[in-house]
Amino acid sequence: MSGSGNVGVHVDHNIQEDPEKLAEFQQKIDDGMLIEVDDWMPEAYRTGMLKMAEHHANSEIIGALPEGEWITRAPSLRRKLALTAKVQDEVGHGQMLYRVSQDLGKTRDNMLRDLITGKTKYHNVFNYPAPTWGDIAMIQWLIDGAAILNQGTLADGAFGPYVRTMKRINMEEAFHFKSGEDMVLTLMGGTMKQREMGQEAFDRWWYPSLMFFGPRDKPNAEQLPPMRWRMKTVTNDGLRQRFINRFAPAALALGLKIHVVEKDEHGMVTSKKPDENLRLNEETGNWEFTEPDWEEFFRVIRGHGPCNKQRLALRRLSYEQGHWVRNAILHGSKNLPPAA
């Protein structure tokens, strides 16, 4: 449920790429052809794609944690099954994306180690808390909805293995979104307590959803390598606008109110007021809104969000607890007879 189109591409100017090959590479991309793992590619493209796929994979397995915490508390047999299957899907996405990354030259164990030591990052949105069942509904509706928008455009990219993985993932995300929509509808059509739970969770997740697409674009975003090489195909602001155009009216129709909020260091809302800038601009067809607090965004990215430590600690615990199991598989007796 992630999508990591915001990982920067670092062009190392000390590496002199063959200009002829570079031109051919660009031509292939401009002609809409796919780049495969064994094709020639500039070093910055290989490292950039690896970074992007690895960040995406990390996000999937960290993204499994906030929702995973609620599997044991799901309030009906149907929801318990659906949530287990959903979180399982996210782990599956992580596994597929680590495979894409492995083919680009980094071992899975190195990626998992880099994740738990903080050397590599995961999506910022998972550093926010999910204190109620309402948050699980909102994550599946808003964050999976945002991921579908983002990943839909990433599936139009140029790197074959990543594009094919996006297509597979997007089919599953569509189910997650439907399940989230159903959970939100049930809450908002339910008792007073349930509607309050829904609104409070919405207040917590609306702005993280807007920040999901990354910071404001640089003015020349479309000329920079990530878009020139079709690692991503739509700007952050373009995606954010598409999201708001779809979800602002949908939220209002469900009886949700869209608030500008202030939060404490635990990510809990301390005050809120209606977003006075929220309106449909009839001329442009776009919804206008109050910008997210970008200072908060960068603070959380730098590791000072409400749940950064907690998420990484749990991931680290899981890695450490599984160490002896992986060891037993790698170094156990060879040629085991079948158990049956």
Partner: protein
């Protein structure tokens, strides 16, 4: 048999609740590993097992619900602790130890296979049909847990030690799976749950000892006449109430409403 005589309804629903509760709590405990498994591929596999168990539980609750005039969710989430019929082995936490999780799954899968086989020859057609459908999935579970037991038992020294420790701790608890409940004999006599618990126990221990031998692990247990009551008769371990409180946390906010 298409309907259950009134006098057999209480033990028969106890039988259905025993299997449903076992499977729900086992699935519940296993689902807690989703996202935290030792290897991504196994994380996904173990999560599928959890989903199977919960789905099986749901089907048995439905069967019981028809006889009791209630819904599956009410049976799963709405009873008091003493009304549950699960055995101690599915109540004990695994403390995030993979050896314990595999060991628990192994004991339960082997037991479930035998219990379901008896149910497939029940003269109550809805039970026989349901058990038949589930049996195929249970076969996959057994292969999965038996392979893990052997793989870990014959893995590194540390893996073997951890597995042996888990077996020593969990085997005596697993025996409570066989606790007879009131009216069991009447179900056997009526052909609703044919077969014998003693035969089932012998088959279970033989199969487990076979696999453990391949895994170079050992189990020493002896079943006695349980003096105390256990989960089959509504008396649970100290782990059960916290488990139930966690599971029902959201349900209890507004019981009976749609979530």
């Amino acid at each position: 048999m298409q309907s259950i005589p009134d006098n057999l309804k209480p033990p028969f629903t106890d039988l259905l609740l025993a299997i449903a509760d076992d499977k729900l709590m086992l699935g519940h405990r296993n689902s807690d590993w989703t996202g935290l498994g030792p290897i991504l591929e196994e994380d996904i596999a173990f999560s599928s097992l959890a989903q199977d168990e919960i789905a099986h539980a749901s089907a048995f609750y439905e069967l019981a619900g028809e006889l009791l005039g209630t819904s599956s969710d009410e049976l799963a989430f709405g009873r008091t602790p003493e009304e549950y019929r699960c055995a101690a082995i599915v109540e004990v936490p695994d403390d995030f130890d993979w050896a314990s999780a595999i060991c628990r799954q192994f004991f339960c899968d082997e037991y479930d296979m035998l219990r379901l086989k008896r149910m497939t020859i029940s003269n109550y057609t809805p039970l026989a049909n349901l058990a038949g459908r589930i049996l195929a999935e249970e076969q996959v579970h057994i292969e999965h847990s038996e392979e893990w037991v052997v793989r870990l038992g014959r893995g590194t020294h540390e893996a073997r030690q951890r597995m042996q420790k888990a077996i020593d701790r969990l085997a005596p608890i697993a025996l409570w799976l066989f606790e007879p409940f009131d009216g069991l004999k009447s179900l056997i006599d009526a052909g609703l749950y044919p077969g014998s618990d003693f035969d089932m126990y012998d088959t279970w221990t033989t199969r487990i000892q076979d696999i453990l031998e391949k895994a170079e692990l050992t189990m020493h247990v002896e079943i006695g006449e349980p003096d105390d009551k256990g989960g089959r008769r509504g008396v649970h371990t100290e782990h059960f109430e916290p488990l139930l409180n966690d599971m029902c946390e959201v349900y209890r906010i507004e019981p009976g409403v749609a979530w």
